[in-house]
Amino acid sequence: MQTQSLRPRGIFVVTAALAALMLALWAGGVSSAEPSAHTAKRKTLNLTDTAYLHLTRKNGNVIYEKGTATGTLPGTVTARLVTSVTKVTGTVTFHSSGGGSITMKAVGYPQSASTITRFTGSIAVRKGTGRFRNALGSGTFSGTANRKTWAITVYARARITY
């Protein structure tokens, strides 16, 4: 009597366990005891960096820059900036000396038209590589650009999760 009453429950438990396992495999993409990228707790990086860039080349209204960054994420920086009359848009990539990179979309607005012009803008982090491959975030920046030499100093602040 007791055996008969337990049999359906046992079948149910085994079925539920198999379903959960299959669901876990499907969701995680791998079996593993390690948590997937989706389920792992994301880290937060409050980035505060200063970048010093210099011109590498120009292509019409596009300028290419590279340089170094100091601060929370020290390393090298490359940028491709599209200039227009009243704003500059482009992508800026921080290559961390500790590994990985973060690529940001930037929109900047000049504050003057003189040789040394100040600018401010916003950044959006949408991708990265290495330890930052799932990076997301946003922030702001300000700085100065020498419009004769295109030497640029940027002070950036961003909150990034990865």
Partner: protein, 279 residues
């Protein structure tokens, strides 16, 4: 004596008006059939990826246009042209509002503005029709300078310097703002009417030639304590040609509300040998 000075002032106004009209026309159309024609040329040896002067020629046929004064010229240029990324307009020319649309009989060269603000040099030819029927051609030089950045627009200041026979000086305000594709920006120069002039004469701009990034432009910088002149880097061409060539557009407005426009397409120069460097 008072009458002489008044005549002189009127002549100066006329001259300035002519020059203004010419400046406004700094942009133009391509079609040969229209009342306005625009042609654009790069340096003869320009190559993709290099810096060049941008020679803009605007011709207006006064027989096929209103006699109302020109009051606005808008010139749109291709998005891929490097005007902001050029070495032009490194200083800001600021003029008081009162200077615009009035005759500047006296004053220092460029109205006291820095030569490092000069972006374009050119000439203008206008026809001055006096009320007695006499038509006098007036020649002027035109200088376009970068102005302050205000309300999201880059300011422009245009000086028209009459050469002969009147010899007046005028200043006009303008700006550069974004333009929809395929254009990247549009230069606008506004020429408000000079009170009382319409009763004395009409001025018709016939031709305007402006060279943005002209090789005659000289900037100055300090090197080792000395003031050294140099030619600023001109308009930067991209390394690849846009589809259908470089497209330009000019739109002109007249004080009676009529408008005309024209377009020009400049074919690609030779392929680039090496990308342009910063300095």
């Amino acid at each position: 004596m008072h009458t002489d000075s008044r005549r002189g002032a009127v002549r100066a106004v006329l001259l300035a008006l002519c020059a203004a009209g010419a400046l406004a026309a700094a942009v133009g159309p391509a079609g040969a059939a229209g009342p306005i024609r625009l042609s654009i040329a790069f340096d003869p040896d320009a190559a993709l990826g290099s810096a060049t002067a941008l020679d803009v020629t605007l011709r207006l046929d006064p027989r096929r246009l209103t006699r109302a004064p020109l009051n606005e010229v808008r010139f749109a240029y291709p998005r891929s042209l490097g005007i902001v990324s050029s070495g032009l307009g490194l200083a800001v020319c600021r003029r008081p509002e009162a200077d615009f649309a009035k005759v500047l009989i006296t004053g220092p060269r460029l109205g006291g503005c820095s030569p490092n603000a000069v972006m374009a040099l050119g000439t203008a030819l206008a026809l001055v029709r006096l009320t007695n029927g006499q038509v006098i051609p007036e020649y002027a030089t035109v200088t376009l300078l970068s102005g302050p950045l205000e309300r999201g627009h880059l300011g422009l200041v245009a000086f028209v310097d009459g050469q002969r026979p009147f010899g007046a000086k005028l200043a006009f305000a303008g700006d550069v703002h974004g333009a929809p594709a395929p254009y990247g920006g549009e230069l606008t120069v506004r020429m408000p009417a000079v009170p009382g002039l319409e009763d004395l004469a009409t001025v018709s701009l016939v031709e305007l030639r402006v060279s943005i990034g002209s090789h005659a432009i000289r900037y100055y910088e300090r090197r080792g304590g000395r003031r050294v002149a140099y030619h600023p880097e001109g308009v930067l061409l991209p390394t690849a040609c846009p589809a259908h060539g470089f497209r330009f557009r000019v739109r002109v407005g007249f004080s009676d509300g009529s408008r005309q426009s024209a377009r020009a397409v400049t074919p690609c120069p030779m392929p680039v040998a090496a990308p342009a460097s910063g300095l």
